[in-house]
């Protein structure tokens, strides 16, 4: 029996009068990597941003249907957004470290949530940098500006920054699109490592990446969930014509 950490039922999302997502029913398995694929503008990122309610920042967004994250409906008036976003970390398309030092970047989450004493900060910073394999590179440069790092290092730093909050789910919005192929592969390796402890949902443009790195794949097209299942099945024997056409490069 698989456990689902995110479940959506009949999810519709509108930007004013434009319907961006239509009747999405998607269950995301714990400690797996789920890839959301599809052509640009099909609603992948929009869907991803439903899970941590980042769409709240945009005016005119209206959502109907149910979304349960870790067992709780996240669209109730009582929903604690701060707690929700601690449980769900997010990594963005362009690495976006704060214009602070490496250390301050990692410690940001600790400082705003104050769950730990100051003494523990150093340990947690070290631990999270280790888990993204940056510690050896950066241990002597913790006071340097994070903006001086390479893009790959910046993206790793952003992942480490999320890990300090001990989230259960990590959302990644095309995390490799700003990186070169080698850095991309190394981030994918890191994802496999992280999968042991975290559930990962990744939006990607890159079909090979989804094939290589994910356990489950959801194909979205024009705001609809066309097909969802184990990545190897979707790629070897898609049930839907549209999925096959997309995967074989006939459109998208």
């Amino acid at each position: 029996m698989n456990t689902f950490v995110i479940e959506t039922k009949h999810l519709d999302l509108f930007y004013d009068s434009f319907q961006a997502l239509t009747d999405i029913n998607l269950n995301i398995e714990e400690k797996k990597i789920t890839a959301l694929i599809g052509p640009s503008g099909c609603g992948k990122s929009t869907l991803l941003r439903v899970f941590n309610r980042m769409n709240d920042l945009i005016d005119g967004v209206r959502i109907t249907g149910d979304v349960n994250v870790l067992g709780d409906n996240i669209f109730t008036p009582e929903t604690d957004l701060i707690a929700l976003r601690q449980k769900i970390g997010m990594v963005f398309q362009r690495p976006n470290p704060f214009p602070l030092s490496v250390y301050e970047n990692i410690a940001f989450g600790l400082k705003i949530h104050r769950n730990q004493s100051k003494k523990e900060f150093t340990d947690i910073v070290k631990e999270s940098l280790k888990s993204v394999i940056l510690w050896d590179d950066l241990k002597d440069r913790l006071d340097n500006s994070a903006l001086k790092l390479s893009l790959e290092q910046q993206q790793r730093l952003c992942i480490a920054r999320v890990l300090t909050m001990k989230p259960q789910i990590i959302l990644m919005d095309e995390p490799c699109s700003a990186l070169d192929p080698i850095a991309t592969l190394r981030i994918e390796e890191l994802m496999q490592e992280l999968k042991k402890n975290y559930t990962i949902v990744i939006v990607t443009h890159n079909m090979q990446q989804a094939a290589r790195a994910s356990d489950n794949t959801a194909f979205l097209y024009l705001g609809e969930l066309v097909e969802y299942g184990e990545t190897k099945h979707i790629y070897s024997s898609p049930k839907e014509k549209r999925t096959e056409d997309y995967l074989t490069g006939r459109f998208g």
Partner: protein
């Protein structure tokens, strides 16, 4: 072209003003305590004027910087779009009021008010000058700081919000921090405007060239001195040269302040 003109202005100031230093050594000019240009023999010590300028400027800074930065943060980050537009238009309007008008309002309303609450013999004091000038520095500070805050990339805000930061934490720890160079520049330009301001201060500070012992005493600033006395001087005379030398001092001060502002604006762009 503008650099040439600035250089020419500076050269002209030097030509007209330097002759005073034949008679009064620079150190006396800057640090002697008495400014009696028409007594016999005349005394040209601009220390009271420098202190007057510093006092009024510092007071204006203390009032306008916190309010100005807070307003900029409010307009850029918190205010709904419509409020934002109204407020920005208001700020621009405030910037467009001629300084004489502000000085006049300060003189007839603020002066008596200050006289009343502090029980003074005159309400035209350094404090009145500071408050009046704070009004003039505010539009500059608010509009430039607001630009700097708006220019902070959206990704920083998103990253902070996605980590569960509150609006306040995001604004304070990330946005304000990232906009710091721009805000420093805003403050510098605001202060630059205050130091150079003449008419309004002349009207509300009481114009007494004495070293003040508190902010509730009348003072006179460098700029007001030039404006008030230039008409009475003989061209080429000592007094005339001394006023030009004050101009040199002012020029150097504003040059330094603008230079600092420029450095930070440059940093802000990176």
């Amino acid at each position: 072209m503008s650099i040439v003109i600035v250089a020419l202005i500076f050269a002209f100031l030097l030509k007209e003003g330097l002759s005073i230093f034949w008679r009064v050594p620079i150190s006396d000019f800057l640090f002697a305590r008495n400014w009696y240009p028409i007594s016999d023999p005349p005394q040209f010590g601009i220390l009271p004027l420098i202190i007057g300028s510093i006092l009024v400027t510092a007071g204006a800074g203390i009032i306008s910087i916190p309010i100005g930065i807070a307003s900029a943060l409010f307009i850029a980050e918190i205010a709904p779009r419509k409020t934002k537009e109204v407020l920005k238009a208001g700020i621009e309007l405030l910037a467009a009021i001629p300084s004489v008008v502000i000085g006049f309002i300060g003189m007839v309303t603020l002066g008596p008010f200050i006289k009343e609450i502090f029980n003074l013999s005159t309400g035209l004091t350094a404090l009145s000058g500071s408050i009046t000038l704070a009004f003039m520095a505010m539009p500059t500070i608010v509009s430039i700081a607001e630009d700097a805050i708006t220019a902070v990339p959206r990704q920083y805000r998103e990253a902070a919000i996605a980590m569960g930061a509150t609006k306040w934490q995001t604004t304070w720890r990330i946005v304000a921090y990232a906009a710091r160079p721009g805000m420093v520049a805003a403050v510098m330009l605001g202060i630059g405007r205050v130091i150079g301001e003449t008419m309004a201060v002349m009207m509300v500070t009481g114009n007494a060239a004495l070293i003040p012992h508190s902010i509730l005493q009348p003072v006179r600033t460098l700029t007001a001195t030039i404006a008030a006395e230039m008409g009475e001087t003989v061209q080429g005379g000592e007094h005339y040269a001394a006023l030009f030398a004050i101009g040199i001092v002012l020029f150097i001060i504003t040059f330094l302040i603008n230079g600092i502002a420029d450095i930070y604006l440059h940093k802000a762009k990176k």
